[in-house]
């Protein structure tokens, strides 16, 4: 298994190199060159030559590509044209906000989706099944941004229960700063024993999490239902039923176990959707994560930042997929390399 893991890791590295080549090609195919962006509208010929030499643009393309890949391997994604800071630094700074949002949404989607899917399968054809199926079909048809806006209308505009946007009350953070240990505000404020910060962080998380979660919840719910229905018709379940197994062990142990591995695949896919969906959610809720960062970079034509974030997110996505694949071995003893 360890051998397989390393082979997969090597594959992953190769794909990341492929992605790096891809982003390199994209950066060369840009409509506007970074030189113009750095030097303003009327640079002199010497300035242009100097900047080209600084960026290594006067070298052959193959050499440039080689240098780019070496830089990427070292975690150097270039400098943001907008802030002049290294892209990697900005990405890391913002990654924790996205991680907090996406992991919470994924946890919730699994925690709700799997039991609801089981319930739906167990009550197949009844009204509760119809209701959950409706939820499943609607959940993937709602645009993320519209769902967020409707939630904002209801819970901020109408009921006034939750904040409109942002990650925490800014006044509060000025008065009582929360020391960053994990970067996750929920955990950090709990560690600091700062209950008002914890409350604020939590109330700011509710709407973005719900917005990001619904499509994944729907997907997981639907997949669980369909797989459970298949398993519930199989012989070992019928036998267990005949032996008088309790409903609880029937549904949650005997039937759930064989669906776990395919379910894991779905959850891995869902995670990818969430990384994409978080861009929209973060823009809508003014959430300071990498999704919002990508859009800010696009709007300001900050291409090194766009390509850098693209590379980081896809690497993360590949890593998650690898972890999911490795979990198969843990969950299913029948799988061997």
């Amino acid at each position: 298994m360890l051998g397989y893991f390393f082979r997969r890791l090597a594959m992953l590295a190769l794909i990341v190199v492929g992605v790096a080549i891809f982003t390199f090609v994209l950066s060369r195919a840009l409509p506007s060159s970074p030189i113009e962006m750095m030097l303003g509208s009327k640079p002199t010929a010497e300035q242009i030559a100097q900047a080209r030499a600084d960026l290594g643009l006067d070298r052959p393309v193959v050499i440039q590509l080689g240098r780019y890949i070496v830089q990427v391997a070292q975690g150097e994604f270039g400098t943001s044209l907008r802030t002049g800071r290294p892209v990697m630094e900005e990405v890391i700074q913002r990654l924790s906000a996205t991680a907090e949002l996406v992991s919470l949404a994924l946890l919730l989607a699994v925690a709700l989706g799997v039991p609801l899917g089981i319930l739906s399968a167990a009550q197949r054809g009844r009204w509760i099944d119809g209701l959950t199926r409706m939820l499943a079909v609607s959940g993937v048809a709602v645009p993320v941004f519209f769902l967020g806006i409707v939630l904002q209308m209801i819970f901020y505009g109408w009921l006034g229960w939750l904040p409109l946007q942002g990650r925490i009350d800014t006044n509060l953070i000025v008065d009582f700063p929360v020391p960053a240990h994990t970067g996750l505000l929920l955990i950090d404020s709990a560690l600091a024993g700062n209950t008002s910060a914890l409350k604020s962080a939590f109330s700011h998380l509710v709407l973005p999490t719900l917005t990001l979660m619904l499509a994944s919840l729907a997907t997981i719910l639907r997949a669980t239902r369909n797989m459970m229905i298949e398993v519930l018709g199989s012989d070992h379940i019928r036998a267990a039923r005949a032996y008088g197994a309790s409903r609880r062990s029937l549904y949650f142990k005997l039937a759930l176990k064989p669906t776990l591995v395919p379910l894991l695949t779905i959850i891995g896919l869902t995670y990818g959707f969430m990384l994409g969906g978080s861009v929209i959610t973060e823009v809508l809720f003014d959430w300071p994560g990498i999704g919002a960062y990508i859009v800010e970079s696009v709007v300001t034509n900050d291409y090194p930042a766009v390509l850098g974030v693209t590379l980081v997110i896809s690497t993360l996505y590949l890593l998650i997929n690898l972890v999911v694949d490795m979990l198969y071995f843990v969950l299913d003893p029948r799988i061997h390399v």
Partner: protein, 275 residues
């Protein structure tokens, strides 16, 4: 039996719903609606009324007219996305699957790179580089999706390739190109058609999302995602500015998905239809 009937009622409602949206979209210029791009500050932010069924937006534009005209744009763009993605993917998948060898290897490695991006990220990156505009967004999404189509075609081609009629064609000396195009391709298309119809709703969502974050349609194009985006500063007081275009996207995608699901289920002999 009862669930089968219920399933078909849903399908019928969805077919009717989607059909109405398509008809409205086709007839939009001939319905005598207000010009959806006509700005009139005297009429701004009026609530829904007999005059303006869905109210007016922050620039005094009629939202009902915008929603109807927006249907044209959204349906056409979504169609464009799946047609172009399939149009690029099918020949590549056919060549990779039928020829095999190094062509196949190169293709598979390239598609590995494309599939390394989480959905929506690659369209965002590409349309960022292509610049705003609905057509660029369409191209960006189609380029991001074509490897999926190529992969589907490739895997079907691999199995069709070993069918008896293909072997027979080869045995009587039919040229490879002719076998690939006349015998293998037509028998490899149905999974692609299923995939394309399932992707249709997703294409609407994706292009609307791009427009929402400012990487798709630009004014004066009337597009649903852009309509919702432009309501962002006012929707808390004037709910109709966001609600109607948003509902239009939701319902269109909902109807399309339900319809595709039920058609696919009824075509699939493996699914048992008893409750």
């Amino acid at each position: 039996m009862s669930s089968w009937v219920r399933g078909n009622i849903f399908a019928a409602i969805s077919a009717f719903g989607l059909g109405s949206i398509v008809v409205l979209a086709l007839l939009a210029p001939y319905l005598g609606l207000a010009d959806p791009t006509q700005i009139d500050f005297a009429l701004k932010l009026l609530p829904p009324s007999a005059e303006h069924w869905f109210g007016t937006d922050g620039l005094g534009r009629d939202i009902f007219s915008g929603v109807v005209h927006g249907a044209r744009v959204s349906l056409l763009v979504a169609l464009g996305v799946v047609v172009i993605a399939a149009g690029i993917g099918i020949p590549i998948g056919l060549v990779a699957g039928y020829a095999g060898g190094w062509l196949d290897t190169i293709f598979m490695r390239i598609s590995d790179v494309f599939l390394a991006f989480p959905p929506l990220l690659l369209p965002i990156t590409l349309s960022a580089l292509l610049g705003p505009g609905l057509f660029n967004a369409l191209i960006a999404v189609a380029i991001s999706w074509f490897p999926w189509y190529a992969r589907i075609v490739r895997s079907t081609v691999l199995s069709v390739k070993s069918e008896l009629y293909v072997q027979a064609a080869r045995a009587i000396g039919t040229p490879p190109l002719s076998i690939a195009v006349r015998h293998v391709l037509p028998n490899s298309l149905s999974p692609v058609i299923v995939q394309a119809s399932m992707d249709f709703g997703f294409a609407i969502l994706t292009t609307a999302s791009l427009s929402f974050i400012g990487m798709g349609a630009v004014p004066p194009t009337v597009e649903w995602g852009l309509m919702v985006a432009s309501s962002r500063s006012v929707f808390l007081e004037y709910w109709w500015t966001a609600m109607f275009p948003g509902m239009a996207i939701f319902l269109t995608v909902f109807f399309a998905n339900v319809l595709v699901d039920s058609v696919r289920d009824s075509l699939d002999p493996k699914l048992e239809r008893k409750p």
